[in-house]
Symmetry: C2
Subunit: 396 residues, 2 copies
């Protein structure tokens, strides 16, 4: 008998990944240009040209044993220094290399943070809808994910519901801003309210409640919106970051954790996270790509490409009668499923060779997620299918 | 209160890593050329030239979204196919891409295997001395590492001791061949005996006992010795491999698991390992380096460089009166600590600016480990220190 949780996940696997694999099958059957795959957050925009230049520079100029060798488990000191410097310049913080731990993407970083913080039976709070993998990351360490609803339609946090969910067993709260799957950005006023509430509950219960900010979409924002940097609002904040989206490098598995000196037990957490990074089997974030992102701190992909997709898809879908909050960040639309049954709508869309992911997997039943980090032309080609679906469901 | 195991590890951290960091401090103080750091298995030999050529080829010829994007959690299909083909050509096996899961090094692979197989309370057997991280990898999944002694002096498996250690709770046995820290290779006859014993115990207890072969040192062998490929001897074998040593790429975190169709519950294990790779936060092995090793299946570092180091160091140390089995693989010497107290000898060696690791951390008290994957000149410079230490301890 293999691991019981893994057996269970084999039977109820990731809806996103299942759709990704189905997309590959359908592309083989119908031709890639006739399948409209909105299932996976796999950026279609190429990495900025500076990435390529950095690869060449490092391969030509730096020692191979440095570039491909072991370094401290936390990462190269010069890379961590470059990350800290960029954060300080952007947000007025005062981090040093000591506060930065290079990780195998944000997924690796969240697992390192949870391994470091959580004891069995601890509770971790997050808002619905949420990235479904959070449930597995928390379960990895035998803690419990407590899901708090957001306000219907806007998907903004419901502070009263949050207050009711915090208990003496709450070890952490996980915030994803901009949010996957809704594209919503929590504004500064909401962040201030959450911070005040967490401080109050820490005092009330005599506990430490760590706010973990999962921020792979930080740079992907539209309409000039600002994403608050959470370490400035709350002392017990840990930031998890990934370059997967901002530099179109999701396969490379590169990101970092910010572990501020203001954390309760900061020394233990900083040392412990490096240990967790080691013993979970990451050992260190991949070396060459660490050095590449270290040189590309001022670079991001052209967000306007995603914005064009957002405007087109949001405009057309609402024109067809679909209902959806206009996202201010990330590259997802979270659309109300016509008919109310998200899984049924996903099946109906497949008949038009449109691949969506059911909201149920995100704690958002009745909705479907579209990842619009795709070719603009694919969106154009998919529109007749969406229009036909709208008619089938009587939206117009 | 952060995680209790992490707190404990903060206080009793990795002896190897502590020495690595001490080595950096001493290098700053005395000059790098005056510190003789034998602590870490960080290859000094550069990657083969084909690695560099593969990087350039891929960066120039392949689509950036392919090279840096998401792929199946198990890895690129063409890379897994290339790995399977090479294994089949080398060992007469019959693997396909389905049997290969690309991992974040061998450390990532072992954690994926354990996550997939182990339920809390399961037992995992390994032979002493062993790579100390095994204890943490098994503990990550709330299973118990059962350490079985080897024959004194030769470090070869003691089959009677192994037979006595296997219980109905034995879920896996972990073998590291060639062995870190001893450099010993277990020959075919021993492997046959182990396989026969495991089969007998599986029948006796009605259980599945998975043999996990940790093989990052497979290609680093000397004197024409052969390392048996364990899937050929035992049906329930999983192989964990890393390119860290064979291609001098330890920082890149790239390796694979072999999951044969002959495994009990093969389908569940193959599917489950991909899930484990995803939810532990690896998601997938880093993408560009996957494609690089996929193109370099016939390449290894020049083992003769390590052999020269082995001959020099083994020859001189035994000449000075130290006692040590002559290693046939890997790049470690496991030397009897003069005076019998390994930690005291490590401290004494530090006074000669020689950095060693105490055998206690490997379940081999009374010995010290030397990693000779270092510059040949560093070995030469360190010899007067070893000679002086030998005199201090009255070895001559």
């Amino acid at each position: 008998m293999i691991n019981a949780k893994i057996l269970d996940l084999n039977r109820n696997g990731s809806a996103i990944r299942a759709m990704f694999e189905e997309g590959k099958r359908m592309a083989a059957q119908y031709g890639a240009e006739n399948v409209y795959d909105y299932s996976l957050g796999n950026p279609s925009v190429e990495p900025p040209k500076e990435i390529r230049e950095a690869f060449y520079h490092i391969l030509e100029e730096e020692s191979q044993n440095l570039v491909h060798g072991y370094m401290l488990n936390a990462g190269y000191e010069d890379v961590r220094e470059a990350v800290a410097k960029k954060l300080n310049a952007s947000f007025g913080t005062a981090f040093s290399a000591r506060n930065i731990l290079m990780t195998v993407g944000a997924a690796g970083g969240l697992n390192v943070a949870f391994k470091t913080l959580l004891n069995p039976g601890d509770e971790v709070i997050t808002f619905a809808p949420f990235f479904g993998e959070y449930r597995n990351y928390v379960s990895n360490f035998d803690a419990e994910l407590v899901v708090v609803p957001t306000t219907p339609e806007t998907f903004q946090p419901d502070l009263a519901a949050l207050a009711a969910a915090i208990t003496p067993k709450t070890k952490a709260m996980l915030i994803n801003n901009p949010n996957n799957p809704t594209g919503v950005v929590y504004p500064e006023a909401v962040i201030r309210d959450i911070a005040a509430l967490l401080c109050q509950k820490e005092r009330e219960f005599g506990t430490s409640i760590y706010l973990i900010a999962d921020e792979p979409y930080r740079e992907l924002v539209y309409d000039g919106v600002q994403v608050p940097y959470l370490t400035k609002y709350y002392h017990n904040t840990i930031v998890g970051y990934s370059y997967s989206k901002s530099l179109s490098l999701p396969g490379e598995r590169i990101g970092y954790l910010v572990l501020p000196d203001s954390l309760d037990e900061a020394d233990e957490i900083i040392a412990g996270a490096a240990v967790a990074n080691r013993i979970l089997g990451f050992v260190n974030a991949p070396s060459l790509i660490q050095r590449v992102v270290g040189r590309c701190q001022d670079v991001t992909v052209d967000v306007e490409i995603y914005n064009r997709n957002r405007e087109l898809l949001y405009g057309k879908l609402t024109e067809y009668g679909y209902s959806c909050v206009k996202p201010q960040g990330a590259f997802y639309l979270f659309v109300k499923a016509p008919g109310g049954d998200d899984r049924a709508f996903v099946e109906a869309a497949k008949k038009h060779r449109i691949l969506l992911v059911a909201g149920s997997g995100f704690g958002g039943p009745g909705y479907v997620r579209l990842a619009y980090c795709v070719d603009h032309d694919m969106i154009l080609r998919s529109l007749p299918g969406f229009a036909a679906l709208a008619k089938e469901y009587g939206l117009q």
